[in-house]
């Protein structure tokens, strides 16, 4: 394994701390580097459970029929998995060259990826449970492409990964390469008690708990129904995983402000730390579920271009980045003012005649605009407020259905990059829509030409 390793593998287990730092510094200057030798183990971590199940079931069948079936192919499978991991580690290398991160990988199908650092949207530092035990971390580079792959460096020694991330971000922002990582100023942390309370009350949490309690009651009262509950168990496991994921992503979340953006750190088992650069926020969304409103709680989410939909994360990837899982309005307003400066309040109501078209959500319909940002609120039970900075608007659409035409209303859409968020000013008076439609393109252009830089 080590025989063919090139000169400077980052984080060779034997190297001591300062030497490793130097090597990362070399990595900025040039030269090829390897990932950490233990990374095949971490990357195979997901498959370990599968392998164990295969081995166990093999054992059970062997004990039952007393045969020797599978005695040879089981170790072979394990050996294959290990071999694949080691080979993929051997053929993977990375380099920083001329403000571009290059990753080469693949044995049969070589692929060479180039990530221009100037176009990085954000860099995440992810530590899965196993990686944490081994002191490793994975770097994920998020680029703007909507379908392209994320640059992944899995895994590096954690201290190296942190230094590398600071350097990559420095390069991305055109700061001097050896600039020290900017001191972060802690804004706030989310308390665990409030997080749990908010999950119980918020969104589907209440429904989930009712379902779980109901199922348990049914199962204990009617023992015969236990068999029929087999499907429900799988459902309950699904619920528990989604609950856990939500909890993990919000657990001990701390938000701190640094020169290059907001730093987020969270996680109970798998920790993730993420940097959201200022001026890269495409849209922000404030959600107030029905049951949260008595407590004055809200959730703040932002859309950053290139947040990849990861298969293994399931629906989580589709959601926006939550920067405030639960907090009060003052915290949300403060964060928002850092990310979307000059965000206006939604103080203009939809005209009363819009009640005929949207009777169920009319009570929340409102909008507001300034010369840098547009805001719209909507929602039936929960109130959703969306801010879109005008410098991020990709296109503007006016849509008018037949019923809206009768009422003299129209809907104005402001599209931003990505699929999940766009501001929708529902059911404005047609005069307002036409006025906005005539001034917004000019305002967007002006905002693009003088983008927000803190």
């Amino acid at each position: 394994m080590n025989g063919s390793a090139p000169d400077a593998a980052v984080g060779e287990p034997a190297t001591n701390e300062p030497a490793t730092n130097d090597q990362v510094a070399d990595g900025v200057a040039g030269g090829w580097h390897r990932l950490h030798p233990l990374s095949p183990l971490v990357r195979a971590g997901r498959h370990v459970a599968v392998i164990l199940i295969i081995m166990l079931s093999g054992q059970v069948t062997r004990q039952q029929d007393g045969g020797t079936a599978g005695r040879y192919w089981e170790p072979a499978v394990v050996a294959m998995v290990v071999l694949v991991g080691v080979v993929s580690w051997l053929v993977t290398r990375w380099q920083i060259d001329n403000r571009t991160l290059r990753i080469e990988t693949g044995l049969l199908r070589r692929s060479s990826q180039r990530y221009p650092l100037a176009q990085i949207q954000a860099i995440d530092l992810v530590e899965s449970g196993l990686a944490r035990l081994l002191g490793l971390a994975e770097l994920r580079l998020r680029m703007a492409a909507s379908t392209g792959t994320t640059g992944r460096l899995a895994c590096l020694r954690k201290s190296d990964a942190e230094i590398l991330r600071a350097r990559l971000l420095a390069l991305a922002h055109g700061v001097a390469e050896d600039a020290p990582p900017p001191p972060a100023q802690l804004l706030f942390a989310v308390s665990t008690r409030r997080l749990v309370a908010s999950m119980v009350f918020g969104g589907w949490g209440t429904v989930q708990i009712f379902l779980a309690v109901g199922l348990t009651v049914v199962a204990t009262v009617i023992p015969a129904a236990v068999g029929a509950l087999g499907g429900a168990v799988a459902f309950a496991i699904g619920l528990a995983t989604s609950f856990w994921r939500q909890f993990n992503s919000g657990f001990e979340l701390t938000v701190s402000a640094a020169a290059d953006g907001l730093h987020l750190r969270s996680g109970a088992v798998q920790t993730a730390s993420e940097t959201i650069p200022f001026g890269r926020v495409q849209a922000a969304r404030l959600v107030e579920p029905l049951l949260w409103r008595p407590f004055g709680w809200c959730r703040l989410e932002v859309e950053v271009a290139g947040r990849r939909v990861r298969k293994e994360n399931g629906p989580e990837g589709r959601q926006l980045r939550v920067i405030l899982p639960v907090g009060d309005h003052d915290q949300a307003r403060y964060l928002l003012s850092r990310l979307v400066p000059g965000a206006p309040a939604a103080d203009r109501r939809a005209p009363a005649r819009a009640r005929w078209k949207t009777p169920l959500s009319y009570h929340f319909l409102a909008w507001g605009s300034s010369d840098r940002c547009v805001v719209a609120t909507s929602g039936r039970l929960r109130r959703v407020t969306q801010w879109v900075p005008l410098e991020k608007v990709q296109s503007i659409r006016r849509v008018q259905g037949p019923f809206q035409r009768t009422l003299g209303l129209a809907t104005l859409h402001l599209d931003t990059a990505g699929r999940s968020v766009h501001a929708k000013l529902t059911d404005l008076g047609i005069d307002d829509v036409d006025r906005q439609l005539s001034i917004l393109p000019g305002l967007c252009r002006a905002a693009r030409q003088s983008p927000y830089r803190p």
Partner: protein, 193 residues
């Protein structure tokens, strides 16, 4: 390059006093206002051959189905039943042709200094404003029917999935002119994400 009107009735209607008491403002007044705004622009309509193409597409579906239904009706029922079925399909096709006519008339685009306007739809009316600087790429597609009529569809893509700037039924040379113009303007005004 004539500004094309969506609704020919507009000339007849009178301006409505702007009062908040009226809950249901008249539809005509509104479309008049809409056209007033649209008339500010120099709208270009797609090629006249687009309507011919849509009619051909309709005929290709309607004629065989009318003939088949007529024959089936005549064989399984009576000659009258066959004739009725064929006539019913023909009637639907004629009504659909009127809808197609109005739909084709509703398409229009305008190249402004900094953005492209695209207008479409009669029931649900849409107007898209796409700044040239936001353009990621332009593509031209031409299906078999479009090629038969020497037409092409130009579509301008932005980073937003919801953006919809599609112009169907452009004459082939106009399509490539528009593509080149859009590409040039997009490059000149390009802005990052």
């Amino acid at each position: 390059m004539t500004p094309c009107s969506v609704d020919d009735n507009d000339a007849r209607c009178l301006p409505r006093p702007r009062d908040a008491t009226s809950l249901l403002p008249s539809a005509l007044t509104h479309s008049q206002r809409m056209d007033r705004m649209n008339d500010d622009q120099d709208w270009t309509a797609p090629s006249a051959r687009l309507l011919a193409m849509r009619r051909t597409q309709l005929a290709v579906v309607a004629v065989p189905s009318a003939v088949t239904a007529g024959l089936l009706g005549a064989i399984l029922g009576s000659t009258w039943l066959g004739a009725e079925l064929a006539l019913a399909i023909a009637a639907v096709a004629v009504i659909w042709e009127r809808i197609l006519h109005r739909r084709v008339k509703a398409w229009a685009y305008a190249e402004r200094d900094d953005d492209l306007l695209v207008r479409q739809g009669i029931m649900v009316r849409r107007l898209s404003v796409v700044p040239y600087g936001r353009m990621q790429f332009v593509d031209i597609t031409a299906g078999p029917f479009e090629r038969m009529f020497g037409l092409a569809t130009v579509r301008m893509h932005t980073a937003a999935a919801a953006s919809d700037a599609r112009i169907p039924g452009l004459a082939a040379n106009e399509a490539s002119r528009l593509r080149d113009a859009l590409a040039r303007l997009g490059e000149a005004r390009a802005a990052g994400l």
